[in-house]
Symmetry: C2
Subunit: 420 residues, 2 copies
């Protein structure tokens, strides 16, 4: 067992002053019981939990860490700007520079609006699509996460039917289903939302079918509706452009966040000239949307995106991890399904509907100093090295052995909903 006394003490304190002790996507309620809730320190690709256990972190803060925790170049740009002026009575030149950098990088984009949360960007995209078309209906794929806003959430508590009115759900990568949804929308189609890849939790990931992406583009064009690619999670780990550039499709709007300033808080809605007038008609704002230090960090991040081979490196590392894991899983007699882009992998064991194997193996990885997620896609970062991957593969070999020794496993009670 890894040390956890500091974590347990913090959980007790948190329980008193935070509902359920934590909330949101970083609450560990649906992770193995030995996973730490609290952390203390990070550097590069390494993370230390509150008890000082050192971990190679394959979550990368659920995406934001692209160039390494505490990246010196990006943080220096941040601090320099913070000392000059951060949250002010108006923006500085940094907002213009960041807009210019993103517009230069993303083929479809002619303009940018910066905000704080990915949810800000997706919620604005819906409003812009409706403003542009003066229609209401949004088509999106079942199971795709587009933020927590009442418009899009899959939770029911406190959400009214009207919050989710004027939406039609289709199946991702299923052209017939998309066509049926668009036909159902009829004259009222405002926009089609799409994840750049299928990166839903709990299930195998899938790349976009080019036929699906192209059909979405064509259907939007026919209807005069806007195509929105939600690149908040996958952006910059698939392309130095909107992720659907890999299948030759340009959306009208794309949403960005997480890693565009390497963990400093910015998200963005990018759009083409077609949508510019509508974007100028909506009102959206936030107290910190114009703060300049995160924008300076974003400009520095864009420089690294443009000027380094970070993408090729994380692809090579991801392939090394995928190949090495496949070999070790197979040698140990386990079927391990590795899906998603190699830079955003998800691991699921064969014959593991309630994730009992996944939980056991992930716990064994944690004990061996590697933080993997049993049901959410992971993220690689450019601070990872071949040595990190090889250390991960060694840990995996030991963890497959531990999993074998642990058979038969008891069900994971809290995951029973998966098979209910």
């Amino acid at each position: 067992m890894i040390r956890n006394s500091v974590d347990r003490a913090l959980r007790d304190r948190a329980e008193a002053v935070i509902p359920n002790g934590m909330y949101g996507h970083q609450a560990v309620g649906l992770l193995p019981d030995d996973y730490p809730q609290f952390f203390s320190r990070a550097e590069g690709a390494r993370l230390w939990d509150a008890d000082g256990n050192e971990l190679i972190d394959f979550m990368c803060a659920y995406g934001p860490n692209l160039f390494g925790y505490g990246n010196p170049q990006i943080n220096a740009a941040f601090v320099r700007q913070m000392e000059e002026g951060d949250t002010l009575t108006g923006p500085t030149a940094r907002i213009v520079e960041m807009a210019e950098a993103m517009v230069a990088m993303v083929s479809h984009a002619d303009w940018a609006i910066f905000c704080k949360n990915g949810t800000d960007a997706t919620a604005m995209a819906a409003v812009v699509a409706r403003a542009h078309t003066r229609r209401k209906t949004i088509v999106r794929a079942k199971g795709a996460y587009h933020g927590w806003a009442p418009l899009f959430t899959s939770r029911r508590a406190g959400i009214t039917p009207e919050d989710q009115a004027h939406q039609i759900i289709c199946d991702y990568n299923d052209v017939a289903s998309l066509e049926a949804a668009v036909a159902q929308a009829g004259e009222d189609l405002a926009g089609v939302f799409a994840a750049p890849v299928k990166h839903d939790a709990f299930i195998d990931q899938a790349p976009p079918d080019p036929a699906y992406a192209n059909r979405a583009r064509a259907l939007c064009d026919e209807a005069g509706a806007l195509l929105v690619v939600d690149d908040v999670r996958a952006g910059l780990r698939i392309a130095r452009d909107c992720s659907w550039s890999t299948v030759g499709v340009e959306p009208d709007l794309s949403t960005w966040g997480k890693c565009i300033a390497n963990g400093h808080p910015i998200s963005a809605l990018l759009g083409s000239n077609k949508a510019r007038t509508a974007a100028g008609k909506i009102f959206a704002t936030g107290s910190y949307w114009f703060q300049s230090a995160p924008l300076a960090a974003g400009v520095a991040t864009m420089q690294l995106v443009r000027d380094t081979d970070y993408l090729e490196r994380i692809e090579t590392l991801g392939q090394r991890l995928r190949d090495g894991l496949a070999e070790r899983a197979s040698a140990a007699g386990f079927g391990l399904r590795q899906t998603g882009p190699v830079t955003m992998p998800l691991f699921l064991f064969e014959d593991d509907p309630d994730l009992r194997k996944g939980f056991c193996w992930s716990s064994a990885m944690l004990e061996r100093g590697v933080y993997v997620h049993p049901w959410h896609n992971m993220f690689l970062c450019a601070a990872m090295t071949e040595a990190d991957i090889d250390q991960t593969l060694d840990a995996a070999e030991g963890s497959f052995k531990a999993l074998k020794a642990a058979q038969p496993l008891a069900p994971v009670e809290k995951m029973a909903f998966l098979t209910a």
Copy 2:
């Protein structure tokens, strides 16, 4: 005329890559034409625009600047934590410390949820109220700003009627109107939202009528609904507690933001135990909600709130400003209505329905090195000194003279909507 060539050049660049050249509450479209859009530097109570013009800043970033731009103690806490770990795969102890600090400070609060935008907090408050009651209807006052979310926005572009379903609008401080709205909600009342003071744009501000606040509390109790005070804008400038503590009323939920980390990006939803279960049932999250450096800055800010006389000082400075302005306006023969808490003043000239006097006087203030707002409440900060106020009063005297010399003024075309 103040120098503006750098600002104009930045506006041209921004026009190309940002819809309308800027967006949100910091776009200067509805400010006098000579107001700068872009800034370069800030320190304490001073702000420099992009052209290097030095200004005493009475907007304080629209609220976030409470303890002075670049406050060394708060920024040191921020940087120390940023170097340890900021946006990670989970929170650090800082989130617990900040929750403990706010719960200790705010009488009604038993728990906290931290987020990024004020709008996050108000949107969550609506979902929590609906989850708690399993009802839908929200009562709120006409003209009050509770964020840009489709649920609450007053803009129409891209907003559907369903986005604003299940809401009844009453008049602030009007008990009969509130009672009628609650009666209309009947069995379906989920919550009553209230601004802590009437701080709507373009009109005279007003303190809460204690009868109104107490009636809101009683009506919520009778209906089993939640009372929500939206303290995002006014929090910490009226009390070291929820602002309605000044009229003896405790809400079930309160929303916070802007200055709780002195401009570092955090907002918060605070709640009483009554609402804890419902708060634990909703799902709301964001990529940067758990980042630790802003939370460390928040903890440092809470220390200054608790341990210094900042509130008494800004109240004294605000009174000095109000008294001095009244005297100078009257000596110059102008009727100047000064409303709002002295720490959050709004100035409107008598007989100035289209703000032509306000615009002229504000421009004259800007030319004299003082940034005031002609139609939005302003904010004082603890970095201001008596000398700053006296310099402001000298500028005001000169500006009243300039206004007198400018009579009769031409209408401000872009403000014609005020009298349409």
